[in-house]
Amino acid sequence: MSDERGAEKLRSYEEINGKITSGDATILTADEFVDYVQRKGLKAAAKEVDVVTTGTFGAMCSSGAFLNLGHSEPPIKMIKCWLNDVPAYKGLAAVDAYLGATAFSETRGIEYGGGHVLEDLVSRKDVELRREGYGTDCYPRKSIETTVNIDELNQAILLNPRNAYEHYNAATNSTESIIHTYMGTLLPRYGNVTYSGAGQLSPLYKDLDYETLGIGTRIFLGGGVGYVVGEGTQHSPQNQFGTLMVRGDLRKMTPRFLRGATFHKYGPTLYVGLGVPIPIINEKVAASAALTDENIYTDILDYGVPSRNRPIIKRVSYADLKEGEIELDGKSTRASPLSSFKYAKEIAETLKAWIVRGDFLLNRPAELLPTYRELRLLEVKKPEPRVKDIMTKNVVTAKPSDNIKDVAKMLVAHAIDHLPIVEEGKLKGIVTSWDLARALAEDKVRLNEIMTTKVVTALETESVDIVARRLDRHNISGAPVVDSENRILGIVTIRDLASLLRR
């Protein structure tokens, strides 16, 4: 036997399946295997245990289903299609559609999406089906409105391009306000930490070197049986961000393990239950399957920074996260998962029970998954407007000691609404025409009595989109542009943003 990847040194797939069929196989869940290795040692455990079962249950946005909706009389070539008002992708043959988990209802908004439709289908509920076509000689019909349920479809195939992330980063928020993300609700000033992934139950962490995972691996998917189709999108195994593309018959799944969900102010998704059996074919696989929460690390990133390069706040293990308290910024912060450990455990146990009963056999993959994939990022080649391209450079400013009446006259003379207050070149505050109107009504005299000192600012190099969102969030109409030392360089207002639309 060679040392190449996938070498069946301890046992072959045929031997494992033979033992499963005769009822002699030793199957443990990943949690049980971790304990067993600690008691008996890795060598003995690898010798005795045939299969380790894993499980994960979390939000997996890259999920969806191919549906064949059947031909009507007279037939239609669908160019648009909605299920419960959620649009499905229709750039396929006449009655094929792909319903994605994150598409959302055109009437109910993000509270109800593709993930919810999939759950309703699996729950065997009737779903409103609406189709539109343009009429051809062979497909004369132009529209249909009816209801369907999953048993009336020809095929309903869950095909998820990216599932079961090996691990995922954890999230916190350094900013002053609460934010709503795909990592859940993040409280201000490092108020909490959320994380995802199943730690020592995670399917891909239990076969770290892809000795057994490959095209055709039979798995638990959504409560039914599924298969690995290949590597998932953004598969990045060298960074422990491996992913799977999986498929399974939606009709054999259960709503317990396929659940529509919505992240507040982010959008809908699908919680997918997925479990992989890891055959202990060699000691390398056994060592990987024995990894504990203490050995599995992730980074807590600052989701308050809306960039693909979110700063790393701290590196922690899943054991640290599961404690529920993390020390951040000098204080103890609560940490909680977004994916369900309870369900992950149930999936690993269910898969174990299937194998023990002899209902589920393992198969040798047709091709193992790659262990290296370069992760490419998108460079935007078309020039995009930055703050410095649209800001007003000759900004009118005032001093904190200035008289309000004089300043009011200045605003009128320059026809502006925002006046940054500057001392020795540095930004100290801001007043708006509205602040001045109120100050005059209340007989205030000096600017420093009324100016806002906590100023929302922008940087020259920032993208216009980011600053527009910041203005919207704070419900303001302009922000001074400053450098790293808070020296004023200009001002950007909604008027500047509007001019961009006219270009």
């Binding site: 249950f57 979390g58 939000a59 509270e111 609460i178 709503h180 859940g184 609700t185 993040l186 409280l187 108020g191 909490n192 930490v193 959320t194 659940r259 969900a261 919505t262 992240f263 507040h264 102010k265 998704t269 919680y271 529920g324 912060t333 609560r334 940490a335 909680s336 998962p337 977004l338 994916s339 369900s340 450990f341 309870k342 369900y343």
Partner: protein, 129 residues
Amino acid sequence: MKLKLSYNYENSGKPIISEIILKMKTPINILEAKLNQDSGEMIVDIPASDRQLASIIDLFGEAGVTVKELTQFIEIDRTSCTSCGACVSSCPVQAINQMPDWEVEYDDKKCIRCRICITACPFAAIDLT
């Protein structure tokens, strides 16, 4: 104990809470207040002994305020809940916790009715009672 206080046209302008705080020398934490000249509603939390609480409730009654004791603010629909934990760390007062089996438990005494958990739940399993 958390109380719901209902004010009417006659008493909504009076400083009833201040008077009771001064008289009973007990803190009263106002969690929610919707008051106008005609009527209003407040949710308050009073950390007091049962005996003190009875007197406080009597004082509100004498001032014409209708008092209702609140025992549960939110309800978790256990068929929708997957015990994921998304609500747990989003709770600013640690009123929601996960047990060793990851089951989510809610402690009404700590709840301040902020409603963050309701939107934090991906499965819409939490609602006000």
